[in-house]
C-alpha cells in the first residue's frame, strides 16, 4: 500500500510541474503584451519587454541652451549640466558625435583637434583627430593616424572639446563663436518607465463609455439568442426522430466553414430591403446566424451523450418533448451551454468586421473594437502601446465571463442526476 501512495505523490508532483511548465509557456507571450501595454511607443521598439524592469543604458542627444557662454582666448566656453537644471542621473559615457556617443568616460575630456600629418611620401596633409584624455592632463597623441600617416603633434589645434563628470556637469569648449546649440551626447542608465498612459488614452477617450455600452448591447443578446435557438434545434437533432435528420446535421457541419465575408453584402442588402438597415437588430440577427452552426454542432454533440434512460423514462412517464427539454435536457446541458456562451461572447466581443458592416458608421453606435481600430489606433494603425492596452482591456470582460461560467462547468451535476 505504501508503494502505491509513493507513486501517487510522485505522479501528482509530475502533474503539478507539467501544468506549471505549460502555463508558463502559454503565458510568456501574453506577459510580453501586458508589459508592453504599460510602456510607451518609443520604449516598446527600443528595448525588449523582458528588459523593461531593468535600467537600460541609453544614449541621448543633449542640446543645451546657449546662456552663460563665456569667451576665452578665441574659444567659446559653455558650462552646465547634461541632465538639465532639475534633472539628475549618472553619466556612464559621453561624446560629441552621434556615431560615438560614449567615446569618453566621466572625468575625461573628449576633444577634436585639427592636425597635420605627414604621408609616407613626405607630403603634408591635414586631418581631424578625436581622442579622450583625463581632465587636467595633456592629450596623448598617437604616433600615426588610422591610415598610418605620422602625426605632427606640434601642429595640433583644438577644434572643440567636452569634459563631463559623473553627475552630469560639463564644460564644452568650441573654437570661435557658438551660434547654435551644440549637440552633445551622453549615455546613462535610464530607469524603467511604466505608465498607465495607454489605458488612460483608451478608457477616458471621448465616447468610450458609449462604445462600452454599445458593445454590451450587441454582445449580450447576440450571445443569448443563438444559444436559445440552438439549444432547441440541437435537442431536435439529438433526441427527436424525424426524416432528414442526418442531412440537417451534415448541413450544420458544412455551414461551419462558410466564410463570413461571402455573406456580408447579400445580407446587408437584405436588411436594407426589409427596412432593418444598419441597426442593433440587424447585428443581433447577423451574429445569431453566424454563430448558430457552431452552437448547434457543439450542443447537439453534448446532448446526444446524455444518458438515454433518463430521457426515455421521462417520456414513458408522459412528459412531452418540451417538458423533457426544459426540465431535464437543458439543466443537464449546462456545461455545454456555458462553454458555448463563453465562445460566442468572446467572438462577438472581439468582432470588428460584423460590427462595421451591420451597425451605422456614426460614432454614437460605435462598439469598442471599432472605436479602438478607427479612432484610437491612429492613421494606418501603428501604435503598439495602444494596441497592447486595448487588447488587455478587451480581455478583461471575457475573462470575467470565463471565471463566472467556470462555476457551471462543475463535476457531478450529471453523475448526480444519473443516480
Amino acid at each position: 500500500m505504501d508503494n502505491i501512495a509513493g507513486t501517487k505523490s510522485s505522479l501528482s508532483w509530475a502533474v503539478h510541474i507539467s501544468v506549471v511548465a505549460l502555463v508558463v509557456l502559454w503565458l510568456i507571450p501574453t506577459v510580453g503584451l501586458l508589459v508592453s501595454s504599460f510602456r510607451d511607443r518609443d520604449a516598446i521598439t527600443a528595448t525588449g519587454w523582458w528588459l523593461s524592469p531593468f535600467s537600460v543604458e541609453q544614449a541621448y542627444r543633449v542640446q543645451p541652451e546657449l546662456d552663460g557662454v563665456t569667451e576665452d582666448n578665441g574659444y567659446s566656453v559653455l558650462e552646465g549640466n547634461l541632465f538639465g537644471a532639475e534633472g539628475s542621473g549618472e553619466v556612464s559615457g559621453f561624446g560629441i558625435t552621434a556615431r560615438a556617443p560614449n567615446a569618453a568616460s566621466p572625468g575625461q575630456v573628449y576633444a577634436r583637434f585639427n592636425v597635420d600629418v605627414e604621408e609616407p611620401d613626405g607630403t603634408i596633409d591635414d586631418t581631424r583627430l578625436e581622442l579622450a584624455y583625463p581632465v587636467g592632463s595633456d592629450p596623448a597623441f598617437p604616433e600615426t593616424d588610422d591610415d598610418g600617416n605620422r602625426i605632427l603633434t606640434d601642429t595640433a589645434v583644438l577644434d572643440r572639446s567636452l569634459e563631463a563628470q559623473v553627475n552630469g556637469d560639463f564644460r564644452y569648449v568650441s573654437e570661435g563663436e557658438l551660434r547654435r546649440a551644440p549637440s552633445l551626447y551622453v549615455t546613462s542608465l535610464s530607469p524603467p518607465r511604466f505608465s498607465l498612459e495607454n489605458y488612460r488614452t483608451i478608457l477616458f477617450s471621448n465616447g468610450m463609455d458609449v462604445a462600452f455600452i454599445n458593445t454590451f448591447t450587441v454582445t449580450i443578446p447576440a450571445t443569448i439568442i443563438p444559444i436559445l435557438i440552438a439549444a432547441f434545434a440541437a435537442y431536435a437533432l439529438a433526441w427527436m426522430d424525424f426524416k432528414g435528420r442526418g442531412f440537417l446535421i451534415a448541413m450544420v457541419v458544412g455551414l461551419l466553414v462558410v466564410p463570413l465575408q461571402l455573406a456580408l453584402v447579400p445580407l446587408l442588402q437584405l436588411h436594407n430591403k426589409v427596412g432593418i438597415g444598419q441597426s442593433f437588430l440587424g447585428i443581433w440577427l447577423a451574429h445569431t446566424g453566424f454563430g448558430l452552426p457552431l452552437a448547434i454542432y457543439l450542443l447537439r454533440n453534448y446532448m446526444v451523450g446524455l444518458p438515454r434512460d433518463i430521457i426515455e423514462s421521462a417520456k414513458v412517464d408522459g412528459a412531452t418533448d418540451f417538458q423533457v427539454f426544459t426540465k431535464i435536457v437543458l439543466p443537464l446541458s449546462f456545461p455545454a451551454l456555458a462553454s458555448f456562451a463563453i465562445f460566442q461572447f468572446l467572438w462577438v466581443w472581439n468582432d470588428l468586421l460584423v460590427a462595421k458592416v451591420f451597425l451605422p458608421s456614426n460614432s454614437e453606435s460605435w462598439v469598442m473594437t471599432v472605436k479602438i481600430a478607427d479612432d484610437l489606433l491612429g492613421s494606418r494603425g501603428g501604435d503598439w502601446g495602444i494596441l497592447a492596452g486595448a487588447a488587455f482591456i478587451s480581455i478583461a470582460v471575457p475573462l470575467a465571463v470565463f471565471f463566472t461560467m467556470q462555476r457551471y462547468l462543475v463535476r457531478g451535476l450529471l453523475a448526480g442526476s444519473v443516480k
Binding site: 501544468v19 502555463v23 502559454w26 503565458l27 501574453t30 503584451l33 521598439t45 528595448t47 525588449g48 523582458w50 455600452i213 454590451f216 448591447t217 449580450i220 443578446p221 443569448i224 436559445l228 435557438i229 434545434a233 435537442y235 431536435a236 427527436m240 446535421i249 448541413m251 450544420v252 457541419v253 458544412g254 461551419l256 462558410v258 466564410p259 465575408q261 461571402l262 455573406a263 447579400p266 445580407l267 442593433f280 447577423a286 448558430l292 452552426p293 454542432y297 454533440n301 412531452t320 418533448d321 427539454f325 456545461p335 455545454a336 465562445f343 468572446l346 472581439n350 487588447a391 478587451s394 480581455i395 471575457p398 467556470q406 462547468l409 462543475v410 457531478g412 450529471l414 453523475a415 444519473v418
Partner: protein
C-alpha cells in the same frame, strides 16, 4: 433616453422575444391545435410530436437559411462569373485558379495547417484538461491557458511580433539567439517552409484554450462510477485515462478536432498580419481574402474549394452521428 436604458431595453426585448416564441409556440401546439385534454389525447400527442421537431428547428433553420445558405448559393453563382460579374464564364475562375502557382502553394500550406494545428491543439487541450482536472489551482491554470482565446487576432499578432521580430531588441527568439552567441538576427518568418509552422504555433496557442474548455466539460461529464470501477480493478492512472476516459469522450474529441479544422480553413488574420502571405506562407483563407471585394469571382471560387475540402470532415461527422444514434 440614456444609451444604457436603451441597451437594457433592447436586450430585454431581444431575449424575451426568443423565449416567448418557444414557450408560446409549444403552448399553442399542446393546448390549442392538438390539445392533450381532448377526446383523443393519444392521437393528438402523436400529431404534435410530428410537428414539434420542426417547431424546435424552425428558428434555427430560418436563420441558417437566410444568413448562410442563401449567401452561399448566391456566391456559388457568382463564382461562375468573371471579375466584374457581367460575363458567365462557367468554371473559368476555377481553371485559372488551379493553374496559379500561388494557389498551389496556398493549398499545400493549408494541407500542412489542417494536419498539424487541429491535432496539436486538441492534444494539448486534452492534456491540460486532464492534468488540471483534479488540481486545486486547476481553475487558475485553465484561465491562464484560456487567455489567448480572449485576445483578438490582431492583438495576438502583435504579441507574436514580440516573439518573432527580426531584431534582438524586440523579438524574444532573436534575443535568445543573441544570448547564446548568434551574431546576426534571423527573421524566422522568412525561413521557407518552417515559417508555416511558426505561424501555426500562434493558432495552436490560441485554440488550445478552446479544446481545453470543451474537453474539460466532457471529462467532467464522465460518470464517476466508471472511473471508480476501473481504479478498484487496479488500473493505473494512464490506463484510466486512455482506456476509460478517452473512449467515453471520443465524440467530443471529434467535435473539437472538426471545429478547429474548420477554423484553420477560415482564419486568414494571422497570415495576413504577420507576413501578408509572403515568403511562401499563403494559405487558402488569406489567398481568398486577397481577392475578396476585388475579384469576387475568384474569391468565391476559392471559398468553394475550401468547402469541398471540408467534405471528408462532414462525412466523418455524419458517420459519427449515425453511430451515436444507434
Amino acid at each position: 433616453m440614456s444609451p444604457l436604458v436603451q441597451g437594457l431595453l433592447t436586450i430585454f426585448i431581444g431575449v424575451g422575444g426568443c423565449v416567448g416564441y418557444f414557450f408560446l409556440s409549444n403552448l399553442i401546439l399542446d393546448k390549442v391545435i392538438f390539445p392533450t385534454r381532448s377526446e383523443n389525447p393519444g392521437l393528438n400527442i402523436n400529431r404534435a410530436n410530428l410537428v414539434r421537431p420542426w417547431l424546435f428547428l424552425f428558428p434555427a433553420m430560418a436563420a441558417l437559411g437566410l444568413y448562410l445558405v442563401y449567401p452561399v448559393i448566391g456566391s456559388f453563382w457568382r463564382s461562375l462569373y468573371n471579375r466584374s460579374g457581367d460575363e458567365f464564364i462557367g468554371l473559368g475562375n476555377y481553371m485559372t485558379m488551379f493553374s496559379d502557382d500561388g494557389f498551389q502553394v496556398a493549398l499545400f500550406n493549408n494541407f500542412l495547417w489542417v494536419l498539424f494545428v487541429p491535432a496539436s491543439a486538441t492534444f494539448l487541450g486534452l492534456l491540460v484538461a486532464q492534468l488540471t482536472d483534479r488540481l486545486k489551482w486547476g481553475n487558475i491554470a485553465k484561465s491562464l491557458i484560456f487567455m489567448p482565446m480572449a485576445i483578438s487576432f490582431v492583438g495576438a499578432s502583435l504579441i507574436w511580433k514580440f516573439v518573432y521580430a527580426n531584431n534582438a531588441d524586440i523579438g524574444l527568439i532573436n534575443a535568445l539567439r543573441d544570448f547564446f552567441g548568434a551574431e546576426e538576427p534571423l527573421d524566422v518568418l522568412q525561413v521557407r517552409f518552417w515559417n508555416n509552422f511558426f505561424l501555426m504555433f500562434i493558432l495552436i496557442w490560441i485554440q488550445t484554450g478552446f479544446a481545453m474548455v470543451i474537453l474539460s466539460a466532457a471529462l467532467r461529464g464522465i460518470p464517476e462510477e466508471t472511473v471508480e470501477a476501473a481504479i478498484i480493478d487496479g488500473a493505473n492512472p494512464f490506463q484510466v485515462f486512455f482506456k476509460i476516459k478517452v473512449p467515453q469522450i471520443m465524440g467530443t474529441i471529434v467535435v473539437v478536432w472538426t471545429t478547429i479544422t474548420i477554423l484553420v480553413l477560415k482564419v486568414f488574420d494571422i497570415v495576413y498580419t504577420m507576413t501578408g502571405g509572403n515568403f511562401g506562407t499563403e494559405i487558402l483563407p488569406s489567398y481568398m481574402m486577397s481577392y475578396m471585394f476585388r475579384d469576387d469571382g475568384r474569391a468565391t471560387a476559392v471559398a468553394f474549394v475550401i468547402m469541398i475540402i471540408v467534405l471528408p470532415v462532414m462525412i466523418w461527422n455524419i458517420r459519427q452521428a449515425r453511430a451515436e444514434m444507434r
